[in-house]
């Protein structure tokens, strides 16, 4: 005896919040129109036999959008036992338009008026009992956000469903219209249930073209239609619509009282006047996004990531910073000595490289015994070449002045005697995870290779990715806030003006915006675009926007090559948007995609202060998925990578390799085959090639791979973590090209899966992937070749090719926009003929 209750209402009326409250599932409430595109089901809390179906937000049952078709098909085809109609009390007139149609279906309806609390605050009143009387259905007040009235509404709905009462249609249109409706009802065959006949009759009169799909035999109602149209001198849909609104107005008049306050432009309107102002809109948007990314990536973000990368996943850190300043003081004191040592060793290496190498091997070895070190020092300093060596070293004095200091053997020896301060001795020191795990593994007597897998593989890889979690969380908070308060909807509107110039509509912007969190829902959001060509184009270009997973790559490149500059992150988004716009322009000029974009109509919800709870919840949801991804996909990838990296053919046989033999590993072998492809882009070494490939599984893998590849080599004397190593491997301009390549090329497997599903067509899927990757390659190529000119590193052939590409690109952008000429001519002929 299971009961089905459908949840229906306008977009943004609080349906999803109610659904969550009724079923207990944890879903996110956004403030955008078209939030729910899929049908959602859940079991009513406390009633095991009641299923609640959350229908997509719709304005009416006349199908203009996919959501409306989906909702309508469900209601007519599946016949739920009751409908819980949520109505936004603050704009009840428009909401009732849907309600009247729902009630024509012959299914028991209970109306829940939401946002009653806001109504009260504004001083408006709705008389629910009068409303119920006039409509002919029960009406309850709820506040979905606050949670009031929900249980009563649910209980009433279940009641209604159980009673399965026949529904009395309370509202009626003008007499002549009613007469026609009855006439049409009589014509409808028995394949339509009695209580549904009115609904079908009205739809037939309205000339709804999709209603025919639901009927076995379609009666001819043209006579009736003609009669009405003649009488009212208007077309039937408008007639019916007008009738509805007239009916609604009469109800409103009797049941609602407005306070004087609501006139004169609400707060939201005032904000909109500024935010969508023709001159200020774009700069404001640019400023907002810049601020968001500046705070999360450059300032708070990088501070947090440094702590994570060097501290938690590095050597260690001071708890709450206790001891940091004391340590820093000691370190400052030691600094000059350190400089002297380093300077002297540099000079020594030039003069007597072999002797110096012998010394540094022992000196740098952390496991060396003290006696051995002392002996090594003695041997080194008594060497004749070293004894007579003097050099000058730049040392920063107390007042930051640099002075040249003479360093000879004696000074060197004195400096060596100074104890380098160990941060662990100061304050409260928490050793980094690698240190802890390393100690643990040693203590338990774990074999070297396994320790290697764990420390240099898993911890290094996963740690590199997890290091970005703080940054991501900060970013997610901002984005969640922006979305919840309602600003994002305005952005789509603002961008529409620009997008239209390129043959796209602002609606294509929404998937892009979603894609900046994760590409998968971004691609899926393209469903709201009715125009098939626009949709395909949107699907193809949505992943150009840097998604959450690409953020660590951006941060990594910014940190390793550009000193964490803010412009890197910002430019990544700019490149993404530019890629989308240019793709839009170019593709729109091809025969495949040409055509007018769909007109832009979108409801803008009122601004409101999002609840802390909502914002935090959304931030956590995304943050958690990021972490979970790290623990699963990336974890597995790092294990595989580690094996590939540490096994190979060296010294003529296959086996496990030493650290320095990295280039002989299987991975290097595979990478070397692929690497030459990327040589024209400036990063033709196998490490970068491998990193880019692993990015196909999950974009974070690029960072994880770097973590293993560049952190692994123990050749670095001061244990430089990956940023230092990475920074030394290729030139900055190539690094930027690498970044752009990863941003634009085919997305991760999950996103590719989404593209395949949405395209529903293998050919188009490959076309999309191919387009993205080729574009990425060409752009990265041009960046490197042309950029190299400015760094004084010109490759003639490459430069010429790059310039050719740029010229071709510009041509594709500016060539005249031709509609199919033949069609135009025909129309002209017809016009003249008339």
């Amino acid at each position: 005896m299971s009961i089905k209750i459908a949840l229906a209402g306008n977009p943004n009326c609080g349906k999803t919040t109610l659904f969550n409250a009724l079923t207990g599932s944890n879903q996110f409430v956004g403030n955008w129109p078209g939030v729910t595109v899929e049908k959602k089901e859940g079991k009513l809390k406390g009633h095991s036999d009641v299923t609640i179906m959350d229908l997509p937000g719709i304005y009416s049952l006349s199908p203009y959008t996919l959501e409306e078709v989906v909702a309508r098909n469900y209601l007519v085809g599946e016949r739920p036992d009751a409908i819980l109609n949520i109505v936004d009390g603050t704009n009840i007139e428009r909401n009732l338009y849907l309600s009247t149609q729902l009630m024509e279906l012959g299914i028991p309806v209970i109306m829940a008026v939401n946002m009653m609390d806001i109504l009260e605050k504004n001083g408006d009143k709705i008389h629910l009992d009068k409303l119920s009387e006039k409509l002919g259905c029960p009406v309850v007040a709820i506040s979905a956000l606050k949670g009031t009235g929900i249980k009563e509404a649910a209980d009433k709905a279940v009641d209604l469903a159980k009673k399965a009462a026949t529904v009395t249609i309370a509202h009626s249109f003008a007499d002549s219209v009613e007469a026609v409706i009855s006439a049409v009802e009589a014509k409808i065959g028995s394949d339509v249930a009695d209580e549904q006949k009115r609904f079908f009759a009205i739809k037939l009169i309205e000339k709804d073209d999709k209603i025919k799909d639901m009927m076995k035999s379609v009666p001819d109602v043209s006579a009736e239609v003609q009669k009405l149209e003649d009488e009212f001198d208007d077309d039937t849909e408008s007639i019916i619509t007008n009738e509805r609104y007239q009916y609604i107005s009469s109800i409103i008049h009797d049941c609602c009282t407005k306070s004087k306050k609501s006139e004169g432009g609400s707060v939201s309107d005032k904000i909109d006047k500024v935010v969508t102002n023709r001159w200020a809109a774009l700069p404001i948007f640019a400023a907002v996004m810049f601020l968001v990314y500046y705070i999360s990536v450059t300032t708070v973000g990088s501070w947090a990531t440094d702590w994570a990368n060097d501290g938690v996943f590095g050597d260690g850190w001071h708890l709450f910073g206790i001891g940091t300043s004391a340590y820093n003081d000691a370190a400052d004191e030691y600094a000059p000595y350190d400089a002297e040592i380093k300077g002297f060793l540099e000079a020594a290496e030039e003069k007597a490289p072999d002797v110096t190498k012998e010394f540094t091997e022992v000196y740098d070895d952390e496991d060396a015994q003290e006696a051995d070190v002392d002996a090594a020092i003695k041997a080194f300093t008594s060497n004749s070449a070293i004894k007579s060596l003097t050099t000058e070293v730049n040392i920063a004095g107390e007042d930051e002045d640099e002075e040249l200091v003479n360093v000879n053997v004696a000074t060197f020896e004195t400096a060596l005697e100074q104890e380098e301060p160990d941060p662990a001795d100061y304050g409260v020191w928490v050793p980094g995870i690698p240190v802890l795990i390393g100690n643990g593994l040693d203590a338990i007597g774990c074999a070297d290779w396994l320790s290697g897998l764990i420390l240099d593989g898993i911890v290094a890889g996963v740690g590199a990715v997890l290091g970005f979690v703080p940054q991501m969380l900060v970013l997610f908070i901002f984005l969640a806030f922006l979305e919840s308060c309602g600003y994002m909807a305005r952005v789509a509107f603002i961008m529409d003006r620009i997008f239209r110039k390129f043959g796209l509509s602002g609606k294509s912007f929404i998937p892009m915006l979603i894609g900046s969190g994760c590409g998968v829902p971004g691609v899926m959001a393209s469903r709201t675009i009715e125009n098939d060509r626009d949709r395909k184009m949107t699907i193809m270009t949505t992943t150009f926007i840097p998604c959450g997973a690409k953020l660590p790559i951006i941060a990594l490149i910014a940190g390793a090559f550009f000193d964490n500059a803010g412009w890197v992150a910002w430019s990544a988004y700019f490149v993404g948007i530019a890629a989308i716009i240019c793709s839009g322009i170019i593709l729109k000029k091809t025969k495949m995609f040409a055509g007018e974009p769909a007109p832009f109509v979108m409801e803008l919800p009122a601004y409101h202060m999002p609840t802390v709870e909502n914002v935090l919840r959304s931030m956590w949801e995304r943050g958690w998925s990021f972490i979970k991804k790290a623990g699963t996909i990336i974890l597995l990838s790092t294990i595989v990578l580690w094996f590939l990296m540490n096994f190979g053919w060296a010294d003529g046989s296959f086996g496990m390799l030493e650290a320095e033999q990295l280039d002989s590993s299987i991975l290097a072998a595979i990478g070397s085959v692929i690497a030459p492809i990327f040589a024209p882009l400036g990063w033709g070494n196998w490490k970068m090639a491998v990193a880019a490939i692993t990015g196909l599984i999950a974009k974070e893998n690029v960072v994880a791979t770097f973590g293993i590849l560049f952190g692994f080599a123990e050749v670095a004397e001061d244990g430089a973590e990956i940023w230092g190593q990475l920074g030394a491997s290729i030139v900055p301009i190539a690094a930027y090209g690498f970044l752009v390549f990863n941003l634009l090329c085919a997305p991760c497997f999950a996103a590719m899966g989404a593209i395949k599903r949405e395209m529903n067509n293998t050919k188009w899927f490959w076309f999309a992937i191919g387009y993205q990757t080729v574009l990425a390659y060409i752009v990265a190529f041009c960046i490197y070749q042309i950029g190299s000119v400015f760094t004084g590193n010109i490759h003639v052939v490459g430069l010429i090719i790059a310039l050719l590409f740029v010229a071709g690109f510009i041509y594709l952008l500016v060539r005249p926009y031709k509609e199919s000429d033949t069609l135009k001519v025909d129309m002209k002929k017809k016009a003249f003929a008339k």
Partner: protein
Amino acid sequence: MGTVIVGIIVLAIAGGAAYSLHRDKKNGKSQCGGDCSRCGGHCH
């Protein structure tokens, strides 16, 4: 001995990860936050 213990732990974690991925695939996983069926189409 220590190696064996640690090795088993690592295998267990890796296995858990693989299993979790497989299960997600069945639910129509998405790398964004939840399963796609309840995704509002807005993630960001």
